[in-house]
Symmetry: D2
Subunit: 347 residues, 4 copies
Amino acid sequence: MLGATGAVGQTFIRCLAGHPWFRVAEVAASERSAGKSYAEATRWIEGELPADVAALTVTPCDTGSVRSPVVFSALDAAAAADLEPAFAHEGRVVLSNAKNYRMEPDVPLVIPEVNAGHLAILEVQRRNRGWSGAIVTNANCASTTAAVAMAPLHERFGIRTVFISTMQAVSGAGYPGVPSLDILGNVIPYIKDEEPKIETEMQKMLGRFTGSAIEHASFVVSAHANRVPVEHGHTTCLTLGFERKPTVEEAIEALREWKGEAIVRGLPSAPAMPIRYRDEPDRPQPRRDVMDGRGMTTTVGRVRADNILDLRLVAMSHNTIRGAAGGSILNAEVLVQTGVIARSGAA
Amino acid sequence: MLGATGAVGQTFIRCLAGHPWFRVAEVAASERSAGKSYAEATRWIEGELPADVAALTVTPCDTGSVRSPVVFSALDAAAAADLEPAFAHEGRVVLSNAKNYRMEPDVPLVIPEVNAGHLAILEVQRRNRGWSGAIVTNANCASTTAAVAMAPLHERFGIRTVFISTMQAVSGAGYPGVPSLDILGNVIPYIKDEEPKIETEMQKMLGRFTGSAIEHASFVVSAHANRVPVEHGHTTCLTLGFERKPTVEEAIEALREWKGEAIVRGLPSAPAMPIRYRDEPDRPQPRRDVMDGRGMTTTVGRVRADNILDLRLVAMSHNTIRGAAGGSILNAEVLVQTGVIARSGAA
Amino acid sequence: MLGATGAVGQTFIRCLAGHPWFRVAEVAASERSAGKSYAEATRWIEGELPADVAALTVTPCDTGSVRSPVVFSALDAAAAADLEPAFAHEGRVVLSNAKNYRMEPDVPLVIPEVNAGHLAILEVQRRNRGWSGAIVTNANCASTTAAVAMAPLHERFGIRTVFISTMQAVSGAGYPGVPSLDILGNVIPYIKDEEPKIETEMQKMLGRFTGSAIEHASFVVSAHANRVPVEHGHTTCLTLGFERKPTVEEAIEALREWKGEAIVRGLPSAPAMPIRYRDEPDRPQPRRDVMDGRGMTTTVGRVRADNILDLRLVAMSHNTIRGAAGGSILNAEVLVQTGVIARSGAA
Amino acid sequence: MLGATGAVGQTFIRCLAGHPWFRVAEVAASERSAGKSYAEATRWIEGELPADVAALTVTPCDTGSVRSPVVFSALDAAAAADLEPAFAHEGRVVLSNAKNYRMEPDVPLVIPEVNAGHLAILEVQRRNRGWSGAIVTNANCASTTAAVAMAPLHERFGIRTVFISTMQAVSGAGYPGVPSLDILGNVIPYIKDEEPKIETEMQKMLGRFTGSAIEHASFVVSAHANRVPVEHGHTTCLTLGFERKPTVEEAIEALREWKGEAIVRGLPSAPAMPIRYRDEPDRPQPRRDVMDGRGMTTTVGRVRADNILDLRLVAMSHNTIRGAAGGSILNAEVLVQTGVIARSGAA
């Protein structure tokens, strides 16, 4: 794993503890940490650090030091820019959380229940770039929350317009991240560089793979991104316009019935149902719903008619599990199913 | 004052402390409290209880017990329904925070900087109802935040469409209000009965008084209302469509220059400027901006272009001062200026 | 279960979900709720309401309506005063969380790892009171946190003096409990009636059963009780004086080695170890440690020498699991082991 | 001012805005900030940055660049070690918040109401060190809260023993300081290096100046220091033993009557009364009481008898105003009164 000591890296380690297929075999981080044990190098911030990982020696983030064929990357954008392609070039499958390659035409941006099919573009990627490995990305955490909720509605009714206002947890900013003096009893109506991601990534994820390219969906997105004093779980208020306007009942039915792409079902990290629709008028709520499906379920509620467009709803999911580490691991599990990753691959 | 022991009643008392024109002469509350001193009857929750008010004896909320010609009402809807008209009938000027009469055609719903002119409809109200007194209302606190920010833009560019997503402070729910177990580290994407108010009140406030009636503005509003763990200050994310699309610079200029109705300037509770536009990318913030203008200023920031409509922005103001007690008092001050209230009127 | 709709009642239901020996067969609450389904009668505040309990019809809290031989009671003191003895008189074993009978000489006040042996006093209780049933109590939640941490030290070194300062979670006040306006960004240095409980209950729990009576330990306790904006988990700062002063190492060794009374080991609700000693300088922390041992482990840290007495340390445990519902259930499990409760007993 | 861009530096600037005697003439910070305007160099975190300070150019922290005869220092310990003596050597009066010189025998550690008389040791300091200037320090913020509350009791009854448990605000750790992921909904029972300061500084402040030396008070202090999710205001729970045990009434009377040293009264930053005793059972509370006396009043409550020692009480004061910047400014005001600082001295 690359970037193993940071907040997303730690979430990877928690999500991989006891994983039936993958095992954290290597932990790589900045030069400053290299050579220390993982336990020494890391300020572990949540839950229990597994003993086998604690004892690993941190290696530098280079293709010589890291040998695993499957590489989970929690690198930030600055580090990912050069390192992720280097690993892909050396034949490794890189599961990336960085923003750098998400929007490249030949790089799949995947939430498996939504668009596992896009992984087929890896063939194009390898041909284009001469890589024996690959880069597979997952989206910004707020985009992920909304994209899952929108997927079943887009499939059936065709989304045209999206107004989204987010209330995002502090863990989305990593560690140390948001100073407590900035957020205790406060709302910050701004997250640097966040709105452009939310406004572009969902069209790719909800787009169509033509066999040779990913055709982005044509809806338009307008976002307000806000930070709130919540630990985990991004809440998104969505107002949607459709090609074919659904009734509230039709929309709820679509959300309830949706199972997502068949290849995902039964995978170790897949929740029983990717979406849980709740009838209570005041749900979803991050503190109460965020760990549903071990953090992999997207909770949706409050589907109701809109005064201007067609429907409104609220969707919430775990930003560092569903929206980062857990999503990457599920991507890797699909790649095991499709044979891109050998089942014995350590991480 | 009616409903003097609750959270809004307490804010009235704080805002009236040292007021040059009004003085809290009577405190009325439910039968349970009547006969006690105000200090005994009240769980005072913020700042210092003025000694002169502490010593007042709580009276019942009826027109026989309460003698003041000017009556500030912090009654809830159930109590306000019958009591407020009874006082108006007896010749008192009632400054109401309840929702009951806000949308009645002959009842002004006033934020003085925005629509002090609507107070002229009191003549119609008195004629219609045979009252020697009057009822003047102020709006829902979230509507108030947005309406102030929208007023200068509506004046110059004509608003047609409003998407609004709110993040509202817990003090908006009164005391004891929101249980801490519901809101610590959490977001509740629902406030009972709130969205319909936000979707209808602003058209009235930004409407036009024809001389005999208030013609509502014709824009349409779609709202998401959320509760967040903030003490005071409602933050609203607004996305706006206009009849004549302003540039970002024109919009900011309109916000910066706006002084509101002339009659308000220099009144004791009027802030120096009703709107403060902040350039920092991450403002307004409730904890940092809420007390600007002693809680009467609306802070606006993040005016930027939109992908679908014309403009986006964020507005924030104090929900129990600007959005409730302070707003009522400013209404009363205008009525002193127009002669409806005699300057010697106690509250 | 009595008082099933409140916060502690709900914790009982969560803790009993999937229990191998007990099953929630009946839910009793106030007259207002009786006749409704449990789902209707309850504002469920955390996690998932088990479907089988949701469908139960709420019964009144009387010995005619509630038939189970084992009765978990989450009643408040006012209701418990008459109801708990009535059930005991009718042959039921009542596991009580109320304060009423805790300090009665013939009522055991039990944390099983600490003083399961005190349950033998039930024979005296039955003889004294002519009951075929029994009342078994567990302690105040803050007393429980401290008593577990003190037990191994008292056993080996004899505690003489205890200064304790607590920082208690809001869930200790039930639901709706502490208003958010009182506790957001705040500390309340007072919890009504709490300090006297903390100052008297531990001597009973750490006392000695003589065969016919419980001889209270003779140490003296001085408490400061504080409420802090934490959801679950009471943190207690302890400064201790001993009959035989241990070194820091001896104290840590005693805490690490302590297994508690043998009869408890392996019971369904018993954690692997009742105490977890953590070496990090900044632990225990409620948000990070509270769910250790599924909420039944007491986390202890910061054992260090004192300037005035002998040792200082910090202990933290889950106030509604270890300190209430989970503790009651573990008491019942011990009573199954000792034969007081038949293993088939529903709750 | 030295260290002007940090959290304490910012509090200095807020406290000095409109000061009748002092004016922020120079702002000095690390090399990284030097040459920028103060507004550019600073992430201003609270309230309004005064326009005249915003426009100042940040200078380096050396005696050549900073010319003011009075130097407020918000330097951290690493920087203060060499810089503060250098300024004192060059004839400047340094008002220091760093820990480095607090415990030096010839350096006064002053809360003026408590021990303004200790400033007379400056003569010894100058003689010893050959300085034409001076260093005057103020104490750790938690020590300050407790020392003020203890001063009137020590004067009358002689304190012998102090158990103190603190609940300290996040602003005590500066900015960015405590990460929100560490403290949201949490308590951290540890603040690095804090307990030793609390355990030694109060004896010096409550000590006696003999004419040539400061004789420390002989009481012993045992501390638990905790961090809580509060923005401003350190709450301290104190349990006290005395040479002559006061009754609760005598102690409250002593607290109520205490005016502190006469020279402080009427100074610009001095609160009307240094201590406010509150009768309510649940006070002091940081969010409700912290700004009493513009942040310079120490609020005390809950004086009650103790089971082991003599008395218990709770004291709270503002950690960055009373406990840092405001305290330094009050020290400087006393030095103006005593003639050590010329009244025209800029800061």
